[in-house]
Symmetry: C2
Subunit: 132 residues, 2 copies
Amino acid sequence: MEENPEGKGALRANEEFYRAFESLDLGRMEALWARGEGVWCIHPGWGLLTGWDQVIDSWSRIFENTSLMQFRITDAQVQTSRDLAMVVCLENITSVVDGNVSEFKVLSTNAFMLREGSWLMVHHHGSPVYRA
Amino acid sequence: MEENPEGKGALRANEEFYRAFESLDLGRMEALWARGEGVWCIHPGWGLLTGWDQVIDSWSRIFENTSLMQFRITDAQVQTSRDLAMVVCLENITSVVDGNVSEFKVLSTNAFMLREGSWLMVHHHGSPVYRA
């Protein structure tokens, strides 16, 4: 559970998740998620999505309605155990969704599993921050 | 990352977390959290709390303002890796906070680490559900 070299790998995977989100490129987002039923995703305010199909479909819908997404990630912390890693971080976001510009903060828990040397995403849980 | 006997232990720890929450007994809540700096907590809408002191202080404040908290937990799923386990579940809640009765749903990611045979809580991330 301590920070270790695996923690650095998971933090790099976490960084790539936000670069993929900014790219609004569905293929790049697909490439970093683990395949199968054991993946979960909770977008801010949404219900629980489980399995590759539901998760990737949600990214497709988000990318369709978004013309700009910029993340400044702060407060990233990681915990790892062999082949499972968990990252929490604060997303400082500037976005244009349905033509509306907004700036807001989301706190996220992201989880990754190590498969054949790569940390693949298995869980994203983002939630709005109302109070500091 | 598959479900396994460790998964059952983590699910039992997850269940005890909600029984402790319902009890509004700070000692019972303290007993299930890991000690030290490597614990995190995100209450719905709050900022990130890190470390035992911040996390336990938040429970103390929540319990002071709450006279009833009842959970019906559904959709619980678990992923484990040796000594780290992650659970997602839907909290169907009836509460009385500051004298106001309300019913609402929260989606949570909870994480536990295995220490000396016990699954101890290291992370709680709860967020409101606005859409199914």
